[in-house]
Symmetry: C2
Subunit: 330 residues, 2 copies
């Protein structure tokens, strides 16, 4: 009977742990407003067996934008800070940059002037810093940068500037059998080195923009070399394309914060059955940043109108979230 007693004890522990987990609020950083209620109502109805809205676990796909949805994106996308830092780090190997815009401006510390060249300048900087190396070398560069670089305003690591309520949401969805994906306009190989550690999202569930790579043998060792050629832009109409290409299944829930996410939300909600579309609206100038229709970063205009007309969930960061960043809790 000794063994039986032991098992009984273990079983009782499991039950009591489960009960205490049930009692704790999995979305404790969310105020009990419409946004939280719509999330919980959705999850409860799609996971309740026998419910007309029940959705089998394999189909519980949830896609999340990253910049402005899972972590902050102001005053410029964090990947843009990475680009600027890489230009400074690589400058000694590129004497020609001293006389070549947009690099000259970056090296002088004048980011605004560097950005004045628009999309073309941005692409040139991205290519100069993101290509020409092997995938393993790039992985190491990103890993080193993300471990040490700090945000100019908060002086925190970028991976500390995640949204606590969204972390809870990721965990809550996964606890309810959802598979969580990132679908971001950001570079996929810029995100993959750290998404598993900070979001619990493994590399194979991260979709993003990408450049082409080429397989070759170097000293009898196979490598993938990053080429200065765009492969895929995972933004706006590219998001449903990316979702179809990488996941091959329509999400039942999608989360974004800008017009870049509009088509993903349209694509998600156009499926049959219960669907959840949610937009994070940046309304908190004090704890974070307040911006929407006129912002050059994370512009939220058409998607905000469509959210209203279609009844999508809109998170008012100022009123819906008790805390923004995890470090506020300490």
């Amino acid at each position: 009977m000794k063994l039986a007693k032991l098992f009984a004890l273990v079983a009782l522990c499991i039950v009591s742990l489960s009960l205490s987990a049930l009692a704790a609020d999995p979305l404790s950083s969310w105020n009990n407003g419409k946004a939280k209620q719509s999330i919980v109502a959705f999850v409860e109805k799609v996971t309740k067996e026998g419910s007309p809205d029940f959705i089998p676990m394999a189909e519980r796909i949830a896609t999340f934008d990253n910049d402005g949805t899972l972590w902050a994106e102001q005053p410029i996308y964090f990947q843009a800070f990475f680009v600027l830092d890489r230009i400074k780090a690589l400058a000694p190997q590129h004497p020609e940059w001293q006389d070549k815009e947009p690099f000259t401006s970056v090296l002088k510390g004048d980011v605004k002037a560097a950005m004045a060249g628009g999309e073309h300048a941005l692409l040139e900087m991205a290519m100069a810093t993101h290509t020409g190396m092997t995938t393993e070398e790039f992985y190491t560069t990103v890993t080193d940068w993300i471990a040490t670089a700090k945000h100019p305003k908060t002086e925190r690591l970028y991976t500390e500037m995640l949204y606590q309520p969204m972390l809870e949401l990721l965990t809550y969805l996964r606890a309810n059998g959802f598979k969580t994906f990132i679908v971001s306009g950001g570079g996929v190989e810029f995100m993959r080195p750290w998404t598993e550690r900070v979001y619990g999202i493994p590399p194979e569930q991260v979709i993003g923009s990408s450049i082409k790579t080429k397989f070759e043998m170097r000293d009898d060792k196979p490598v993938l070399v990053r080429l200065p050629e765009i492969n895929f832009i995972d933004n706006k109409a590219g998001k449903p394309v990316g979702i179809n290409s990488y996941i091959g299944r329509r999400p039942i829930a999608a989360f974004g914060n800008s017009d870049g996410d509009l088509q993903m939300l349209q694509w998600t909600t156009a499926g049959a059955g219960a669907r959840l579309a949610l937009i994070v609206h940046h309304t908190d100038a004090e704890r974070e940043w307040a911006y929407d229709r006129k912002s050059s970063i994370g512009q939220l205009d058409k998607a905000l109108d469509e959210a209203k007309s279609k009844g999508w969930t809109v998170v008012d960061m100022k009123n819906d979230w008790k805390v923004i960043f995890p470090f506020e809790q300490k």
Copy 2:
């Protein structure tokens, strides 16, 4: 105490079920030769905590070629049968095909003549049958075809021509914490409608060749339209590229059967730590087909040499497999 006794009973049941599962051979269709031994030895060492070869579960990525590795591929790739059937089905809408090669030959039933046009003819037929519709329409077409079309030699459904020992291998790996992926030269949207049902591999773990798609609104409903333009060819040097692009993590085990899989096997084995590379060698002319160095379908030449020189596992289908297809067991 009643509750405790109940839990003890349940716990004991679980233990005894686990023990009986351990006793059954998970690879029962494999003869106990070198191939089986190398698989089991690999799985045991990477899953044994504390072993120097231990690999955490999140990194246990296994990639499988499809044609000739998980299901048969003779006398032509099964997707080619689909193309031929689609040409016949679509012919009434294409009167011009009566006078246009390779379509004319297909409609006359002369497959050899149709194939004489080589890669160009194949591409033309693929584009004519795989593009121009929405992704949902194509999904339905594939689903209907795979449910009814039969192989000319065995007169079985194509999804009955899976390799029983490989099905056991997929299950065995997953039971040991591996995540199993398909990495095939075949069309990704040709495979995804049925891989979950027949292999237990969900769409998001299927990588393949693809065409471009375009997001558009039709009657206020978003659709993805399949365009007559190649997006990605997931074969040879494309396989490591596809693995990096879709999985973002190097596999620790890879399974193929032809030179199209060589670079995937090189890429997999070049990683640090324990690795398994396995080639299915088609040696059984009686139960299946025997072919290798000279075959136009599934040519196995360079990869067979490299397997020998590098000590990769080579499955001799005739001697290593007790059964080939599941239907032989009945």
